[in-house]
């Protein structure tokens, strides 16, 4: 289906005229930019000679040291006190996740297994490389990454298994059974349990399939209430990138993983009608509009710093590969399901000159001092390499702190009082809604893009809450909010004026 262009119906002559005007406009005015303000400061950490710093995982040990895993197999420890690096382990296969257990022990997810590394003699290097579990298949396809682990409230460990890419085949010598029904498709699952989130139960030493329907689930996290969330990446069957609330036995929409689901013997998942798959799937809690906000959201973390990282305690932050951004997610439970809004916490693409935050933000971890470690990678994708640290400078940015759906619109809760006169009902608060198609094709355009008229705007007496009533709320749409000219009482403009709320369910 062809994309439409704004001037597609005009004559050649008017093209010329419009183009000339555009050239003039472009020549005399810079695109609008805004500062991230002084709220967050990004600092680049030097990595040691010889290390190719493609960061596959980050975590913080009890003593405050950072442990990082890197694509070429290293597990490195960085001591922020002495600013020294040391090699903890080496020779791993594309490690893409790490969890510190103690000052001498870490769990690492590498391509073939979940591994426990232990420094048994306290010499700073792991001697033991114990296989926690390798009960999943490998076809040799380069796209079969493994992510995690995230630890659940009861000590279970969760890992996620990437599907394979049709841009490469499978090997002659595999690990695990091969199912030819899992071989078709752009991203495929010819060995178990590709496209699944898996649960490892320590007491029974068993790895069990937990939830299916994932494509490239490069990020797992548990929130304060013990809910598991996973990111997934735009592509086939994903019109745009997503954040899922992962619950046991649910199916999240990418069909090839179903060949490893009970009851799907000899069923080709791609033959299932899309409307059937659509009723089977659990919708994402949050959609990340492709190309606008994010292209490849990565690891989620929860701000549990007790205010050391600013005003967003308890919220979820997510890295992003293609843009110099950290995303901030505001979740709420509506009618029994999680949904919510996303915006940027840091967006260096709109900074005036410098680009303090890099792209390639693959991994995040909070330090015990409340600073956020950010590890970058590229590895053949858009990205960068290295390690940065984000510090809250202590100021309160002017932001929408919470965005919550109401029966007739949304409540916006600001980080500080706003000037009511800047909340002009006719222009300050603008909503657009659209949806993404669920289909086998790669990605989706924004469909049925429509402005949503604002019928009423009401500012609370403390001037921190703004209730917005809309003409219409339709579930299944992303509601994009653009704030124009909104200022805090202290005169600062809103730092990140665009938010995206995924409206799955209406407030009853």
């Amino acid at each position: 289906m062809p994309k439409t262009h704004p001037f597609s119906t005009m004559s050649r002559l008017s093209f010329f005229l419009v183009a000339a005007v555009l050239v003039v406009l472009a020549g005399c005015s810079e695109p609008p930019t805004q500062d991230d303000g002084p709220a967050y400061v990004v600092e680049t950490i030097d990595t040691p000679p010889g290390l190719i710093p493609e960061v596959g995982g980050l975590d913080v040990m009890r003593d405050g040291r950072l442990v990082g895993v890197f694509h070429r197999g290293e597990v490195m420890i960085y001591d922020p006190e002495t600013q020294e690096w040391s090699v903890f382990a080496q020779g791993l296969h594309d490690p893409l996740g790490v969890k510190a257990v103690s000052n001498d022990e870490v769990l690492v997810t590498q391509r073939p297994e979940l591994t426990r590394l232990t420094d048994t003699d306290q010499d700073g290097k792991a001697e033991r490389y114990d296989t926690v579990t390798d009960d999943f298949g490998m076809s040799g396809n380069y796209h079969e990454f493994a992510f995690g682990p995230a630890e659940g409230p009861n000590g279970d460990l969760f890992i996620s298994l990437n599907t394979a890419s049709k841009f490469a085949g499978v090997w002659d010598i595999l690990r695990g059974p091969f199912d030819p029904e899992g071989r078709p498709g752009r991203m495929y699952a010819a060995v178990p349990y590709r496209g699944w989130v898996m649960r490892y139960h320590p007491a029974s030493d068993s790895l069990e399939p937990f939830a299916s329907g994932f494509r490239s689930p490069n990020g797992l996290v548990f929130d304060e209430e013990g809910r598991l969330f996973a990111t997934d990446n735009q592509g086939d069957w994903l019109g745009t990138s997503k954040l899922y609330h992962v619950q046991q036995d649910n199916f999240y929409g990418h069909p090839q993983s179903l060949v490893w689901e009970d009851g799907f013997d000899d069923i080709q998942p791609l033959d299932l009608p899309v409307p059937v798959l659509n009723t089977m799937r659990t919708r994402a809690s949050v959609l990340f509009p492709q190309g606008i906000l994010a292209n490849s959201p990565t690891q989620p973390v929860i701000d549990r710093t007790g205010g050391q990282f600013g005003p967003f305690e308890g919220q979820m932050l997510i890295g992003e590969m293609n843009h110099p951004r950290i995303l901030r997610v505001m979740l709420e439970e509506v009618d029994g399901a999680m949904q919510g809004a996303v915006t940027t916490l840091i967006d260096s693409s709109t900074a005036h000159e410098s680009r303090p935050l890099r792209i390639g933000n693959n991994r995040l971890a909070f330090g015990s001092d409340g600073n956020l470690w950010v590890g970058q990678t590229d590895h053949g994708w858009p990205g960068d390499q290295g390690l940065q640290r984000v510090r809250w400078a202590g100021g309160t940015p002017t932001e929408v702190e919470e965005m919550s759906v109401t029966k007739d619109g949304f409540n916006l809760h600001f980080t500080k009082p706003v000037r009511p006169e800047t909340i002009r009902p006719d222009s300050a608060v603008q909503f657009t809604r659209y949806y993404y198609e669920y289909h086998q094709e790669y990605g989706s355009d924004r469909m049925d893009v429509q402005p949503v008229p604002v019928t009423e705007v009401e500012v609370s007496s403390d001037q921190r809450r703004v209730a917005v009533a809309l003409d219409e709320l339709v579930p299944g749409y992303v509601y994009q909010l653009d704030l124009h000219g909104v200022e805090a009482q202290d005169g600062t403009p809103i730092a990140h004026p665009t938010l995206y709320y995924t409206l799955n369910r209406l407030r009853q």
Binding site: A19, G291, I292, N295, H323
Partner: protein, 371 residues
């Protein structure tokens, strides 16, 4: 369908400028012979790159540029004015919601021509007239995040390709290790010494995807496959070259063996408990580093086995020290007739290709395989 259309928005701009240019050209030299049209084919390939990072055209030449996207990501191709690549990429990054609506092409006078964003497995054709002014005009993918590395250069010159410097000296093409090949020094880069003993879990040829390559002192190396839980093969000479694997997202790369394979097993687990005809159920459990070498641990029917592999004391080969915890019955070690190595054992009794060990002998024994 994205075939054979460029964006009409900039078509307008292009045509407008074209009309102006045409007027000027016609006025100055109405009889100028224009060069024949030129067709350029460029593929967007894996690893965020165009397969063709530069081409040359004549000033004013009609050009038909076909972009084929054979990668797994979406791409466009934007031709910018001289020296404007980075500014256009920066402007594209600031487009916000307009990005997807406008093919990630900013409204900028620096943009000369562009294709729309095309999905994997699709193509676009861009027809345009090359600038009259000789120079180097960048082309770049402005899809978010791609512009840093995915670009090339259109040389406009009456001299054609002769105007281009040697590729390795060309500052207008990306200094991309994927294209020019990773140097041996870079591929060996680690923050630790890479002299043996050294090991990698990596993608190895002729073994399962879950294989461990180990390089030992004296230039002998082996591939330990954690699926059958045994040595797949051993070689002498160098260790492995991981430079293809380290490139990341491109294809199913594997490490290459440096040296000559002197031992190749049939990929079957070699030990038996009691019944020589029944292979036990084997589980790989990991390894412990002993003087820089892995001592593998696995279970067979629940019995714990440790296997430490060191260079053979004499000649080219491997010494495999097995330790089995409390063997309940006789243990057998089965070698294959296809083994091209000399096999010796410190304990047990050979009968043809099978070594039989009593439970006491099986607690610790060593098999030496030499070329």
């Amino acid at each position: 369908m994205f075939n054979a259309h460029s964006s009409e928005r900039l078509w307008g701009l292009g045509l407008g400028i074209l009309a102006l240019g045409l007027l000027l050209v016609l006025r100055e030299s109405p009889d100028a012979a224009s060069p024949p049209p030129k067709t350029i084919e460029i593929q967007a390939v894996a690893g965020l790159q165009y397969d063709r990072v530069r081409f040359a055209v004549q000033p004013g030449q009609e050009v038909e540029l076909r972009l084929d996207n054979v990668s797994s990501l979406a791409h466009n191709l934007v031709i910018t004015d001289e020296g404007a690549r980075e500014a256009v990429v920066a402007a594209a990054n600031r487009m916000g919601a307009e990005g997807p609506e406008q093919e990630y092409v900013p409204d900028s006078g620096d943009v000369l021509h562009f294709t729309p964003v095309i999905a994997p497995d699709s193509s676009a054709t861009l027809a345009f007239t090359a600038p009259e002014a000789a120079g180097v005009y960048p082309y770049v993918c402005t899809y978010p995040g791609h512009g840093v590395v995915m670009y090339g250069a259109m040389y406009v010159s009456p001299d054609g390709e002769a105007a281009m410097p040697p590729l390795e000296e060309d500052p207008h093409v990306p200094p991309d290790s994927l294209r020019v090949g990773t140097s041996a020094a870079a591929s060996a880069a680690h923050p630790y010494p890479t002299s043996p003993p050294i090991m990698y879990r990596t993608f190895m040829p002729n073994s399962s995807p879950a294989t461990i390559a180990v390089g030992l002192e004296g230039g002998v190396s082996y591939a330990f496959d954690t699926v059958p839980v045994t040595i797949r093969y051993a070689w002498s000479g160098g260790f492995v070259d991981n430079s293809e694997v380290f490139k990341g997202h491109v294809a199913n790369q594997r490490a290459t063996i440096e040296g000559d394979v002197f031992y190749r097993s049939d990929g079957q687990f070699p030990l038996r408990i009691g019944d020589p005809g029944r292979p036990p159920n084997v589980e790989f459990e990991g390894y412990r580093m002993v003087e820089g070498r892995p001592e593998f641990r696995y279970t067979m029917d629940g019995l714990t086995v440790r296997e430490l592999i060191t260079p053979a004391p004499e000649g080219t080969g491997l010494q495999r020290k097995f330790q089995i915890e409390e063997p309940p019955q006789d243990i057998r070690f089965v070698r294959r007739a296809a083994d091209s190595v000399r096999v010796e054992a410190t304990a047990g009794t050979w009968a043809a290709d099978t070594l039989r060990l009593s439970p006491e002998e099986a607690r610790e024994f060593t098999i030496t395989m030499t070329k």
